[in-house]
Symmetry: D2
Subunit: 335 residues, 4 copies
């Protein structure tokens, strides 16, 4: 970490600063530029509060040299992490597709879709029981009841299931769920992340709509700091000024995250675009760029889906996407 | 609501659509343009799912004519709402300043700051007990203990207190708190909003970093739909590509929200900029533009604050801000 | 176009509005909603000034039903446009790669790179003579002299050349250039677009860093309205709050533009990321999603390039990208 | 400037780098961190190409310590610049209002508005002759003819005039214009900036819709590097995801630019919001925050203005804004 000092600095203030920094276990390396004077902080700076340093009267600016995340950092764990989801291997060259309806609606619906996506090549089943909806007047999910139906479909098909948690008070309901999904709006729900960090269960963490990749990895740090290392990352579109698509899929997140972290990276083309006809091109793009997996919404009757019908594929369209994905996979980027 | 149909539409599909819309209590008004055919939906469309409609094969686009929020809409409640915070009137021409430290640190600190800001003209006390921090290695707040200290400062000064809730499982701890703050990162934590909607206690709802004003009012709708009408809005900066300031204060939010809603609007200049020297200019700007109040971070010893020291004012600097604010207030915009 | 009227509207004002709209050749279809009254404007509304309408005292809002662009609109020209670039066919199923250095530096450099990229499979040569640089202290390009070197490389290799124009006063220098590139910062330089609209020469128009797809097509409209229909679109990354990459490649622009327009769409992965190691994954992604072509920076000695070295590939790395692109192409999305 | 090296660096490569940096007149200060090795570059680094450095194989990251702009930097010119606009002093505590119509339409219109705004307190007249419009089908301005009418209004009222240039080929037409305006879309039209840098005439440079404050000052650097120091900055709203207003006025730009530069800062509330009723609150906010001036659109008959009528004030409304501005000015922030 580099601390840039203001031009006119009293020696006593500088001495105080150095003493304080040294008390945190850091060694200090001072040097003089043409118009500035800088301090290099040497040691573990991940716990140093940049805002606090910047607030000091004699400090002009502070610049990080090292990333503030440790557990997720590929520098300290060069090999890909491979996560075991009830027997299904995720990451490290394994490719997986999570598919299923946005919302769980009925017994028949979830079981039918589950079997269809399994037949088409999906390796995990998704389905929403608790639904974050912008409007209180929209369908909010079947909640506890939905979870039960999902577990029924799990039993019927043998597919591990992925479903979203919306509040930490629901955590006891997720015991038989294979992967707990933390949605984009909860990416910085730190109380929830801490609680999940104490579990022994894989987590799929979605990137927030306006969050950077570094912030995503800081949220991972909350989970891993608690002892849970089984985190799958998921890019699902970020907010930009473009209005033709619901969000903008950040395809560069794949190669960038592959540099930054050893964790597996999934892409959710359904939420990124919000338009069914874009799911195929975005899926192929994600696979070509080297994603570890896809998460795709599939519904038996998209126009009558209780939520997000606009972005769901029919089982037939999904099958075709999987087939093309498999043709492209041999040529996909590797990291 | 206007539904634009695709050019080639089979009559039977159109009939089905019209029947379905009518079953929702809407009446339909069809008309023909040069290159398009449109349906006008007449009636209460706030529960119509736009995404669902857009997903239909024969629909090209859907456009809302009416706002999707009702309870917060000024059209249906032209008069300003005035909220009673333990005797302090908020909104409707009343002006209030909430001030206090980012984090509650010790008994002495919170009581000293509370008394200072009261003397300078603050009408409510803020102080964080549960702190949302990007890094798990940063100070997370004194939590339950912090709440107790805050209530002590309330008793000592008589100032109503405002403090942030981070999870609905903590709600029982907030009984004696006068205003529950929902932070920017929780603006779309719908489970929390629903729970708060069931309380009889004023709420200060901060706008999310990447949320539109309409989305802010949809989150209000979650609270008001539960029966709690005492909502204070707070703009605290949005995320843009500008990096010189931490966030970008959206000053236009004041006049726009005044048009859209009858609820009071506060500005938090401390979080918006993240820089103490910007608090005064942004405070004066907010007051001139007609804000109902300010929320300002004040700390007795900003450089040693346990969090967000960079944006805190000293009690002396705060006093000077309040004095200038009071000089400008007579000329501020009114709505 | 739909005009939403304010609730309280005097009949005389409404009559005036209707008369005025009819004088523009539009027919008016009025209808009444529950809380609103709307006018449907039927006819060619592309010349109607929405801002002007919104300014009228009795108007609450205006919503477009039809796109404001005509010449580029796929609705009116369903078949793909195929553009002839000095014998090379662009669009309509043809795939092309434009490659070459960011800046033209010397005779040897441009000829060496030109021959390398031709051998590797590039079908057009790029090279910057006029360089838009953020700092006046950075290298600004060889200008006229650079254009001459580029034309020499064209003669030597037979590759058509693409190079950027920075001001309309330079237009006479571009006579032998095969494709005139309009850079992202000039996407809304309307005087330049009008002038280029009068030429009979293919244009490669880059999307601005903060522009929507619709705005891109409105800029195309400036060119096509002048009679020049040979426009190639190029997505090169948009500005977001993400800082790990220089810009964010909007991969969804490919399928969206394919719906909106009949013009060919290229992707520039070099500028989008600003990082050489991201060029391959982004290129593969673009091809899989169905782009009509790529524009890639290649330099014989990237670390010593006079500009943008960070994002240039070596000829060897470029060759490998082309080879993988060709393996993926058979499975790419088609529109 | 700080260069962070990759962990595994060959000594010979490092020696080459140091030799090269020293050849640019810089001295090098190497130091070792826990997980990294850094070089401090001491001397004038404004001409060092960061991208080039980052491209080197042994470099992990590069961080600027000093700002890349010099002439506009307040560090090197602590006193406010005062610009003489045909006798009117701008900056350094002087407050000015530029007012007038978006477009010049007729002799009577521009002379009437000019006299009205002068009577109300405006000190300069604005009026557009060349209009940048998103659609080629919208009114493009009276061009040369418009400039003549503007100069007529200047003669009639004695007000200095400000008008926008759209291309450097028009520069000869601007001889009698007092301030040349460079619009937001041309902020990075570097050829135009260079040409204007050679003139002896004040320039009003608007911030681009998606540009940072540092980029604004780099564009100023283009003008000042040519010898023209008379630059007035103008913030006119940036693009965000908010759609209720046309753009988002970045009010923090005032205090931030006051720190960064010695040049005067104006605010254009008309373009920032695009809504007439927001002009007053945004004007008052700008004045309170310490802007050196305002630029406001005024039209005798806003609903029938040929462009941007939605954001124009009537002369009466403008008069009221000026009166309130004058009441707030004594309490405005000073820098």
């Amino acid at each position: 970490m580099i601390v840039v000092l203001k031009e006119k600095t009293e020696q006593s203030q500088l001495d105080n600063l150095i003493t304080w920094l040294e008390s945190m276990g850091l060694s200090i390396h001072a040097s003089e530029g043409q118009n500035s004077r800088i301090l290099g902080l040497i040691g573990d700076t991940s716990a140093v509060d940049i805002d606090l340093l910047k607030a000091l009267e004699i400090v002009e600016d502070v610049k990080r040299i090292q990333e503030p995340y440790k557990n997720a950092n590929r520098k300290f764990h060069p090999a890909d992490s491979i996560i075991d989801v009830s027997g299904v291997k995720v990451g490290g060259g394994n490719f997986n597709i999570i598919a299923g309806p946005c919302s769980i609606e009925t017994d028949e619906q979830i079981c039918f879709v589950a079997q269809s996506v399994k037949d088409a090549g999906a390796t995990m089943l998704r389905g929403g029981a608790f639904k974050p909806r912008t409007s209180p007047y929209s369908f909010q999910g079947l909640r506890d009841e939905g979870l039960k139906l999902l577990l029924k479909a799990k039993k019927a098909t043998g597919l591990p299931v992925v479903t979203e948690i919306m509040d930490l008070s629901h955590i006891h309901l997720f015991e038989e769920v294979d992967v707990i999904q933390v949605g984009a709006r909860n990416m910085q729900n730190f109380e929830l992340l801490k609680e999940i960090g104490r579990l022994h269960k894989p987590v799929l963490l979605k990137r927030g709509l306006a969050n950077t990749l570094q912030e995503l990895l800081m949220s991972v740090e909350y989970i891993m700091a608690g002892g849970n290392n089984d985190v799958i990352l998921c890019e699902r579109g970020i907010r930009t000024f473009e209005t033709a698509t619901r969000n903008t899929l950040d395809i560069s997140a794949i190669p960038m995250l592959k540099k930054m972290t050893h964790l597996p990276i999934f892409i959710d083309p359904s939420h990124a675009a919000g338009i069914a006809s874009l799911v195929k091109p975005l899926s192929l793009a994600a696979v070509a760029a080297g994603a570890d997996g896809l998460m795709i919404e599939v519904h038996n009757d998209p126009p009558h889906a209780l939520c997000d019908g606009a972005q769901s594929l029919t089982p037939e369209a999904f099958k075709e996407v999987v087939e093309t994905v498999n043709k492209i996979r041999p040529y996909a980027c590797k990291y």
